[in-house]
Symmetry: C2
Subunit: 133 residues, 2 copies
């Protein structure tokens, strides 16, 4: 069933994310997904409570944040610390593994942000040569 018959690539890199069946694809989507990336980025700066996170990750709904945190917790990237007080207090923080992932992710995010000037320029050029379409 594992359909990776041959590598036509020049270099024999250890990839198989490209295969639909590979489980790493799922995890990668949790990490790089719309809310996953921003959540990990936020948690890279420290520990946060649920609603703190919600405010930091602008635009995320309760449902999506909850869902995202569950996925990341399940993948062992985020640790959930619940205190049985009243009112309840729950803190989220990165696990060591999560921190390593977030580090690379944040590097990517910062790089992209730093080059937005180039990106915007490229877009302007692209849109112009095609006459607004």
């Amino acid at each position: 069933m594992t359909t990776m018959p041959e590598r036509t690539a020049e270099q024999d890199l250890p990839y198989d994310v490209f295969s639909r069946a590979c489980p790493s694809r799922g995890t990668l989507e949790h990490v790089t997904g719309r809310w996953g990336a921003l959540t990990l980025g936020a948690l890279f700066e420290g520990s946060f409570r649920f609603n703190e996170l919600r405010r930091r990750v602008d635009g995320v709904s309760e449902k999506m944040l909850s869902q995202t945190l569950h996925a990341l917790e399940r993948d062992g990237l985020v640790h959930r610390e619940a205190q049985p007080t009243n009112p309840p207090r729950v803190d989220y923080e990165l696990t060591p593994l999560g921190r390593e992932v977030a580090e690379r992710l944040v590097g990517l995010i910062e790089f992209v942000e730093g080059r937005m000037g180039d990106v915007l320029g490229a877009r302007a050029r692209y849109d112009e040569t095609r006459g607004g379409r």
Copy 2:
């Protein structure tokens, strides 16, 4: 409109991806998105024609690949080289900027893949403590 009233973060990092309005969020989604990440990863290994890419990125439909490539080209990350031969031949390759982005992205992908053992273990533990849910 720009709702970033105050930073509660310990460190004053230059983020604003967290803001819904920030244009870098869009580009980040092209890059980290489901097909964007895999496409950039594939192109990091070399230049490919449309259907070569399609075979490499397992599971992508023509529409999504076309759409993804357009977005990346517009953002200045991918260069499209069309030769007016018959049958037509079109090659896609990373721009210098795209290469830098892909480099970081591939680093992230490879890291995640290398730690899938930990991830799978964490999942097993998580699922067990919650009784299959």
